[in-house]
Symmetry: C2
Subunit: 633 residues, 2 copies
């Protein structure tokens, strides 16, 4: 059997001939960047063959490499089949790097109303005078301790079978665990002795990229640990579309398993950090987008990516954690947030819960921006939602020096409006390698205020500054000189980059206006704007208004809810009463398909200006720009 | 590997050295009589070694055999270990024979209110204008067809997973199956095309000895087939106590499996006879005694046979048929009748339902007699129950020529009160081999009426008749002369037999009176007596009163309900509304422990006369006996 040795770690793994390097890496537990899901289309899984025999079609895939790289043995891991013992070097850029994962959440104070309880019991052994059956004795004991009425508690077979021995072996001192389930209560565990204080629950945000887990005591509601890691499905494709395609090709089981493994890895980290046993976790609440939750439940997501884009299920789901491979107590239940449509998933419903939107009379706007964005408008009476592709620009993609929020990314920047010299901060305070989304928004806002760009995004090359110059294809502005950077090149933003960013932000703003039109709501009626997710957490809110990413509202009414998906899961975990609200949200929320909405394209066109064609909608920004213009003269 | 060849069938089976002949027979599918469960205590599993080497302790077990039998190679199958290739002959008496199994039931007209429904749907495929999720589309379709409200239907994971493919593969023409479950409805199956007419249910009586299955259409309620067979657990012990002991020694799983196999065998027979697929059976309702239902559910019955005699569970149980190994539709549910105590099982609750006792204002008495008997007294407001050991006499045991209701048993007999010559009927109308329970009751009644025996059971040897004579130990009455019989001996009933029968019947009568005392009910207030089970079905009701087996009531108010256990299961299967009554019965019924009831012993003593010490309680019998006495002079 041939083997593959991965450098620099020298990890060696035996494989069948014909196995791809990518498959070998997955088998070895190495997480590679595979944006396209291993179809040879993204050119991200670059490795260098150091020795040995492989088959790789250089003619077909040569376009991804320079001549020098090809000389050094560059090939695509997903398209290279092992023919004998080989050694390959994995460059750092091919490995998935630690990104900033947003685990913080708003932490709305939620009362503790768990849906799992433990009752420590000291039962009287049966006698000839009181020969009640074991189960009756146990359930009456629970009822006497303030638990649910005995008759309402259902005992499943596996628990029933365990009861006679546990009662007698423990000398009739046991702890019973009861969970609220649709239609009643369920006796989910009976164990020896008093274990009432060991009762934990987990709130999980199952994101396309990352998994975040909160571990909480269900006795006092305290957060005991937080852990996060990558969604291991990334090795099957970076974005949702690649995952669905992977599932269509028979990979659903594998994706399901990877989702469970990703959750389990975070659960283990959290449990270890809290010093508890995963077996003592009795409930898991999970929020995720519609595709993620379908995959986790093992339900085919294929039909969501082709017309007419229908999910299989939209309601909240409950299931046995064990059946889905989630490593918690064997009888623990899962509560999975309901979705609204293919694009408005349980993560957005969790956002809404976390923001408290559905419990208010005032109208709020919720915005979650990533590669895709979701917008929700409404209050306790009604809700409209929509979703769209923002394009990768806001996340640093399709921008020459754009990058994700990895170390070295410029995340904050401001320009001296006179000298145009920037002051910036990078992630981890290292030399800059590029600019991430929040930095780009700062930059566009200040370039606009400094009149370096006009409201269409065109760079004013008439301004005399060494930072403004003609680049290879477009005019550009130099953000950092080569000597300041970690990459030995000037970091610039081109006019083309600015236009990409304008198109991205225009989608979001047009979505907001479309929902507002639909509901007949003017911007003055919006009491709050909630930002959910990493993007909203890091951007400068004033700048977001200045460039017209969101409607103009008073700054004070904009709030970050952090990771709303995990916050919503936390709320549902510790307060069962909020689950009714979840159900109401999922029921009342209307989904507006933007592509089917003629007014959306008009709104989009009007939004492809900084901040918008109609400055009357952005009165404060108009004042600001007027002041700047007067200043520059 | 040694082998065992069984004669007369010449069935040959390879076994490990040291295997017992009994285990080999079980492996070969041969059902032997093993009353003690294979402990060498009952001497029933007699086989004759014809050739080969075995180890068998003749000294220890010789007492079961005559010298001649030992010479012929007699040994006990359960205590004989195979050492090499052997041939053994199995005498007919060792094989379990076909007994009359009571499958008939009263057939009370019950309205059809099933708890499983099928809906044939022709759904509109999704469009961009109507992109509802698959599940929503399906459930709305069901609701539109008159099914339950979509929101109340829970879809379990395995069904959810099947939905997208089934909907599309079938061109959106599917049949959905919905079952009523605690707290709502459950979508238990979705299949292609219109299968709405293929919807069946099974009612099962899981008896200690036999399993009876009714297969019914749940579309129109019609009975499609009835099948029955032995409970295969018999190979692990004939009576309940042996089974529980077998379970205690690690045999619970085996017994569970045998219970499921026994049910499956009957289901297969019924399904084949009806020409349907077992996969189209969507619900199974089972009644059985407390030990049988515990074992079927895989729950340890050990604590029911030792003080203080507690079952693990008494409520009705639901479970997945598949999980218990019942071979019906993978998503079918089981409904198992609740028990009242260790001795009043779900079979008795089913009897009560079948008799309609709990739906009447009048007071009824229900009697089920076997080796053990159960008596229930009550009406819709209250109910008392008790159980006891009748001893084997009423079933033909412990009576010299007593036998079970097998071919050749005298089942009806009447005496010419002048000549004392009997007229009798045997089962299958063959030459008599012995007398079964119903024959014994006829015989005692007529011996009493003919003054051959007095009210204490003593035989009047002063009467001149060739049929009345002194036997080896006791006076006896000749029922059939050797020449008439299949066994070449006179079939007689001894005075000792009569006394055994009196003790047996006294237990039943005393139980009836004890409950009547407890409830303050006189015999005149009893509107009906219901006999459940084989025994009650075959006995002559007048004779039962004459000998004082049951309280004296007008003959017209005594009714046989046949196999009440399977009738009750049938009612619960086709009419879900009756399940509420089951629950009420199990709740309101009080269990009287006869051994803890001082008055029971007094009642028993008073009942050890024919019919009773106090003839005032049996006024019609008194008149009858007076007439006979006068007649004989």
């Amino acid at each position: 059997m041939p083997s593959v040795t991965f450098l620099p770690s020298y990890r060696k793994i035996p494989v069948d001939p014909g196995t791809t390097i990518l498959a070998a890496a997955q088998k070895a537990g190495i997480q590679m960047n595979v944006v396209c899901g291993g179809q040879g289309k993204c050119g991200k899984c670059v490795v260098y063959l150091k020795s040995g025999l492989v088959s790789f079609d250089r003619e077909k895939y040569g376009r991804y490499f320079t001549a020098g790289e090809l000389e050094n043995g560059a090939c695509l891991a997903c398209q290279t089949a092992v023919e004998g013992d080989v050694q390959v070097m994995i460059p750092e850029s091919t490995l998935i790097q630690e990104q900033k994962i947003l685990v913080e959440s708003l932490g709305i104070g939620t009362e503790l109303h768990p849906s799992v309880w433990k009752y420590a019991l000291e039962l009287q052994p049966p006698t000839l005078e009181d020969p009640s059956p074991d189960l009756t004795r146990l359930l009456w004991g629970i009822q006497k301790m303030g638990g649910p009425v005995a008759e309402k508690i259902y005992a499943p077979l596996e628990v029933l079978r365990s009861i006679p021995a546990v009662l007698r072996d423990s000398g009739w001192k046991v702890t019973g665990t009861v969970a609220l389930v649709p239609g009643g209560y369920r006796l989910i565990n009976v164990e020896k002795g008093d274990t009432a204080r060991f009762l934990y629950g987990a709130a999980v945000d199952l994101g396309t990229t990352t998994v975040v887990v909160y571990l909480r005591s269900l006795v006092d509601g305290k957060v005991l640990a937080v852990a996060s890691n990558y969604n291991r499905q990334i090795s099957c494709g970076e974005d949702i579309l690649s995952r669905v395609n992977y599932a269509r090709k028979g990979g659903l089981d594998r994706l399901q398993q990877l989702a469970a493994e990703s959750i389990n890895a975070a659960l283990t980290a959290a449990a270890n950090s809290a010093g508890i046993d995963r077996d003592e976790i009795y409930e898991v609440v999970i929020s995720g987008n519609t595709v993620m939750t379908h995959i986790l439940m093992g339900i085919d997501p294929a039909y969501m990516i082709e017309e007419p884009y229908v999910p299989v299920v939209r309601r909240y789901l409950t299931a046995s954690a064990q059946r889905l491979g989630i490593g918690v107590n064997a009888n623990a239940g899962l509560f999975v947030f309901p979705a609204v449509s293919d694009f408005i998933g349980g993560d957005v419903v969790a956002d809404i819960l976390a923001a408290g939107m559905a419990e208010r009379d005032e109208v709020s706007l919720l915005i979650d921006i990533g590669t895709n964005f979701e917008v929700v408008l409404g209050n306790r009476e009604w809700m409209f939602s929509c979703a769209g592709a923002a394009g990768p620009a806001l996340e640093g993609g399709e921008v020459l020096f754009g990058m994700r929020a990895n170390p070295g990314a410029i995340e904050r920047i401001s320009l001296d409006l006179d000298t145009l010299d920037p002051t910036y901060e990078t992630i981890n305070s290292v030399k800059p390698r590029g600019i991430c989304g929040s930095g780009l928004i700062d930059l566009i806002a200040d370039l606009l205020r400094a009149c370096v760009i006009d409201r269409t995004g065109r760079i004013n090359t008439a301004i005399r500054s060494p930072r403004i110059r003609q680049g290879a294809h477009f005019p550009e502005f130099v953000v950092a000189w080569a000597r300041e950077t970690a990459i030995g090149k000037d970091i610039v933003i081109t006019e083309n980059d600015v236009k990409s960013l304008i198109m991205s932000k225009a989608s979001v703003l047009a979505a907001c206006f479309t929902l507002m039109n639909e509901a007949g709501i003017r911007r003055e009626e919006i009491a709050s704007i909630f930002f959910s997710g990493a993007f909203g957490n890091y951007i400068n809110k004033e700048h977001a208004i200045t460039i017209g990413l969101i409607p103009e509202v008073p700054i004070g009414s904009i709030q970050n809810i952090g990771n709303g998906a995990v916050e919503g899961a936390n709320i549902a975990l510790i307060n069962r009463k909020k689950r009714r609200i979840i159900d109401e949200i999922a029921r009342m929320i209307a989904y507006i398909e933007l592509n089917a909405e003629p007014s959306f394209m008009d709104e989009y066109t009007r939004a492809t200006f900084l901040p918008h064609t109609d400055l009357a909608l952005f009165p404060e920004v108009e004042r600001l720009l007027d002041a700047c213009r007067i200043r520059r003269g």
